[in-house]
C-alpha cells in the first residue's frame, strides 16, 4: 500500500499542499482529480521523490518510502520528456536498467511493452520523429517497461486517441488486477475516471476534499433528483406539490429536486394526472457534477 500522509508544501507564498493524505491499496486504481493548480502534480512529484515535502511522509508497504523502493516505481510526469534523439527501444532499455532491471531482461521486455501499446513498428525510430500520440505511448512505455511495483501517472490519458485510451485502460486494469500493482493517476477526463477507477480522490486548494469509491462519493452528495418526461402536460404541472423544485427543464422533460418529506409516488400520481408519462426515474449525479459542486463550494 502506498500512503501519502499529511503532505505540506509551499512555493514561496503559495501554499501548494495543505495536508494531503490518501492511500492506494495493492491492486486498486485510484483516480486523482481536482481543478488545475489544486496540488495533484505536486503530490505526485513528492511521492516520486523528485520534490521534497516541507512536512509529511510517504510510506510504502508499511515503512517510509526509500530510494531503492522508489526506484521500482513507474512514473509518467505531467511534463513529458524522453531523449529526443535516442531510438525508442534503446531508450526504454536504458530507462529499465536505471530502474534496476538487468539488461538481458530489459531488451525483450521493452519490445513486449511497445507491442502492447501498439508502437512496436516504431521501436527503432528516434523519439523526435514520432507523432505526438506515439510519443505519448513511448512515454507510457517508459513508465511501464521495468514492471513497476507501483504506478503513478500524471494525466496519462491526455493526448491519446480513443484507441490509445482503450489500450491504456486495458493496461492499467492489467497492472492492477493482474499484477496487483497500486495505480494512481490524475485526469480531467472524469467520465473515464468514473469508468475505470475503484476509488477517487478529489483535491482542491491543496486539500483532499472527497475520497472513496464512486458510490461513496455519490452517497455523500446524493440529493433526491427525479427525471420526468410527461407528454401533453403544462410546464408547471408539478408546482401544486410543495417541496418540489425544477433543477433543469426542457421540452416536456424536467429534473426535479425533492425535499426530504416528499413522496415519490405522489409525484408519479400527479404526473400521470397531468399527461402521458414517458420517463420517470432517479437521477444519479455524474462525477463531473459532483466535481463541479465541490469546486463551486
Amino acid at each position: 500500500m502506498l500512503e501519502l500522509i499529511d503532505l505540506h508544501r509551499r512555493f514561496g507564498d503559495v501554499v501548494a499542499l495543505d495536508g494531503v493524505s490518501f492511500e492506494v491499496e495493492e491492486g486498486r486504481i485510484v483516480g486523482f482529480v481536482g481543478p488545475n493548480g489544486s496540488g495533484k502534480t505536486t503530490s505526485m512529484r513528492i511521492a516520486l521523490g523528485v520534490l521534497e515535502a516541507d512536512r509529511g511522509t510517504v510510506r510504502w508497504r508499511g515503512s517510509e518510502l526509500d530510494a531503492p523502493a522508489r526506484r521500482r516505481f513507474g512514473y509518467m510526469p505531467e511534463e513529458r520528456g524522453l531523449y529526443p534523439k535516442m531510438r525508442v527501444q534503446e531508450q526504454l532499455v536504458y530507462l529499465a536498467t536505471l530502474h534496476g532491471m538487468p539488461r538481458g531482461e530489459a531488451v525483450p521486455r521493452s519490445a513486449e511493452i511497445l507491442e502492447v501499446l501498439g508502437v512496436a513498428e516504431r521501436s527503432r525510430d528516434r523519439v523526435e520523429s514520432l507523432s505526438l500520440g506515439n510519443q505519448q505511448r513511448a512515454q507510457l512505455a517508459a513508465a511501464l517497461v521495468h514492471r513497476p511495483d507501483c504506478l503513478i501517472l500524471d494525466e496519462p490519458f491526455s493526448g491519446l486517441d480513443p484507441v490509445g485510451v482503450d489500450v491504456l485502460v486495458e493496461v492499467l486494469r492489467g497492472q492492477a488486477r493482474g499484477d496487483g500493482v497500486p495505480v494512481v493517476f490524475s485526469s480531467h477526463q472524469l467520465d473515464l475516471v468514473e469508468r475505470i477507477c475503484d476509488e477517487v480522490v478529489l483535491i482542491h486548494h491543496g486539500r483532499v476534499v472527497q475520497r472513496g469509491t464512486i458510490e461513496q462519493l455519490r452517497a455523500s452528495r446524493e440529493r433526491r433528483l427525479l427525471r420526468i418526461e410527461v407528454r401533453g402536460a403544462a410546464d408547471d404541472w408539478f408546482e401544486v406539490l410543495p417541496g418540489t423544485e425544477a433543477v433543469e427543464r426542457s421540452d416536456g422533460m424536467v429534473v426535479l429536486h425533492l425535499a426530504d418529506d416528499v413522496d415519490e409516488q405522489r409525484v408519479l400520481d400527479l404526473a400521470r394526472a397531468a399527461g402521458d408519462v414517458v420517463q420517470f426515474g432517479p437521477v444519479r449525479p455524474t462525477l463531473a457534477e459532483l466535481f463541479r459542486e465541490v469546486v463551486a463550494g
Binding site: 520534490l51 526506484r71 512514473y75 511534463e79 520528456g81 536498467t97 530502474h99
Partner: protein, 397 residues
C-alpha cells in the same frame, strides 16, 4: 521475478555508459575527431616535407669514386645533414652526359670536379674539403706519422668544444613544438568536452527527461555518470589522437625515434584527466542553471574566460617558462592543467612545483565535485528562466 532490490549506488555507471556510447556515435564527435586528426596530419606532413627540403645532391664518379663516397659520408655526418647520393659512370663521356642531362649535380673524374654551368656551392665545399683531407692524409703517410696521431688529426670531426654563455636545454626548441601541440590539444579537449557536459545537462533539462531519470536515480549519480562517460570519451579520443600522431610522424620520418613525444603525450593525457575532473563539475552546474541551449553561452562565460586566460598564459609559458606568471599559473589549480604540462615539457618545472600543483589540483577537485553536486541537484529540476546560484545552493540545504 529477478531480485532488483539492490541499491542504486552503481547507477552512475549506466549513465556513464549511455553518455559515452551515444556521443561516440554522434556525428559531431566524428567530425571533431576527423578535424583534429586532419590538422595534426597536415602539421606532421609539413614537418616531414620540411625535413626533406634539407639539401641533397647527386654526385657522379669515375676515377674519384672513393672520394665521392667519402664526400657522401661527410655530408651524412654534418649537422644539419646533407645527403649526397653517388652515381657511378663508366667513362668521362658518360659522366659529362649525365651532368649535362641534369641527372647529377656534379661529377668527379680524376682531379676534376665537373659541373654543368656551375657546381652548387655547398656540394663544392664538401667535395673540396674531402679532397683536402685526402691530400693531408697522403702527406701524413709520407712522413711516417703513427696511425694513432693520424687518426687523432683526421677523425676528430669537432676539434673545438662548443660552449654557450647561457645554459639552455638543447632540446628545448624541439620540445617546445611538441608542447605547443600538446597544450593546443589540452585546451580543445578540456573546453570542448566541458561544453559537452553542459549541453548534455541542458538536453536532459530542456527535454524534461530529467524528471523520469530523477524518479529512478539521484541527481549526484546522474551528474557523476555524465562526467565520467563524457570524460572517458575525451580521454579515449586523446589517446587515439596521440597514437595516431606519433605513429604517423614516425612513419613519415618527421620525428627522430625518441621517447620525448611519448612522454609529452603521457603528460597531456595525465593533465587532461586532472584538469577535466577539476572543471567538469562546474560545466555541469553551468548547464543545470539554464533551461535552454540559447542561454548556455552566458552561463559559460566565467568558465570560458578562466580556461581561455589559462591557455594564453600557457602559450606565453612556451617562450618564458620561468617567468613569475608562468610559474604561478602552473601551480594554481585554475590554470595548472594547461600551464604545468608546458613547463614540464620544456624541462623548466621543478619537482616541488609539480608536486604542489598536483596536490592543489587534487584538493580543488575534492572541494569542487561535492560543491557542484549540491548546486546541480538544487538547480536541475527548476525550469523557466535562469536559476540563481544562491537558490540552487539553498534548495539542497
Amino acid at each position: 521475478m529477478t531480485d532488483r532490490s539492490a541499491s542504486d549506488r552503481g547507477s552512475w555507471r549506466l549513465v556513464a555508459r549511455r553518455d559515452f556510447w551515444v556521443r561516440l556515435r554522434d556525428r559531431g564527435f566524428l567530425i571533431s575527431t576527423i578535424i583534429t586528426l586532419s590538422v595534426l596530419s597536415v602539421l606532421i606532413v609539413l614537418r616531414a616535407v620540411g625535413g626533406e627540403s634539407q639539401p641533397s645532391y647527386d654526385l657522379g664518379g669515375i676515377g674519384g669514386e672513393r672520394l665521392a663516397q667519402q664526400a657522401a659520408a661527410f655530408g651524412d655526418a654534418l649537422q644539419p645533414k646533407v645527403r649526397i647520393t653517388v652515381h657511378t659512370y663508366d667513362d668521362l663521356a658518360a659522366a659529362e652526359a649525365a651532368v649535362r642531362a641534369g641527372e647529377v649535380d656534379a661529377a668527379m673524374a680524376g682531379d676534376e670536379l665537373i659541373g654543368d654551368a656551375s657546381v652548387p656551392g655547398q656540394l663544392r665545399q664538401i667535395v673540396q674539403g674531402v679532397a683536402v683531407a685526402d691530400r693531408i692524409a697522403a702527406m701524413l703517410d709520407r712522413y711516417d706519422v703513427t696511425p694513432e696521431d693520424r687518426a687523432a688529426i683526421l677523425s676528430d670531426e669537432d676539434p673545438l668544444d662548443v660552449r654557450t654563455l647561457e645554459a639552455v636545454d638543447e632540446d628545448r626548441d624541439e620540445n617546445g613544438a611538441y608542447a605547443f601541440i600538446g597544450v593546443l590539444l589540452l585546451y580543445g579537449q578540456l573546453f570542448g568536452y566541458g561544453v559537452w557536459i553542459a549541453t548534455g545537462v541542458i538536453e536532459e533539462k530542456s527535454s524534461r527527461v530529467v524528471e523520469i531519470l530523477l524518479a529512478a536515480i539521484r541527481p549526484r549519480q546522474l551528474m557523476a555518470g555524465k562526467i565520467v562517460g563524457i570524460g572517458l570519451l575525451g580521454l579515449a579520443q586523446l589517446v587515439v589522437i596521440a597514437i595516431f600522431a606519433i605513429a604517423l610522424a614516425l612513419i613519415l620520418g618527421a620525428l627522430p625515434a625518441s621517447e620525448t613525444p611519448v612522454a609529452i603525450a603521457l603528460l597531456v593525457i595525465g593533465w587532461f584527466v586532472l584538469g577535466f575532473a577539476f572543471y567538469a563539475g562546474l560545466f555541469a552546474v553551468a548547464g543545470s542553471l539554464v533551461s535552454r541551449m540559447e542561454e548556455l553561452q552566458n552561463a559559460l562565460t566565467p568558465l570560458n574566460l578562466v580556461i581561455l586566460v589559462s591557455f594564453f598564459i600557457s602559450i606565453g609559458a612556451l617562450e618564458s617558462p620561468d617567468s613569475t606568471l608562468s610559474v604561478v599559473a602552473s601551480i594554481l589549480p585554475f590554470s595548472s592543467a594547461l600551464a604545468m604540462p608546458v613547463r614540464m615539457a620544456l624541462g623548466a618545472a621543478e619537482a616541488w612545483q609539480v608536486a604542489l600543483a598536483v596536490l592543489l589540483l587534487l584538493g580543488g577537485i575534492a572541494v569542487l565535485i561535492p560543491l557542484s553536486g549540491r548546486l546541480y541537484a538544487g538547480a536541475i529540476l527548476r525550469t523557466g528562466g535562469r536559476v540563481k546560484l544562491k537558490d540552487a545552493w539553498r534548495a539542497q540545504a
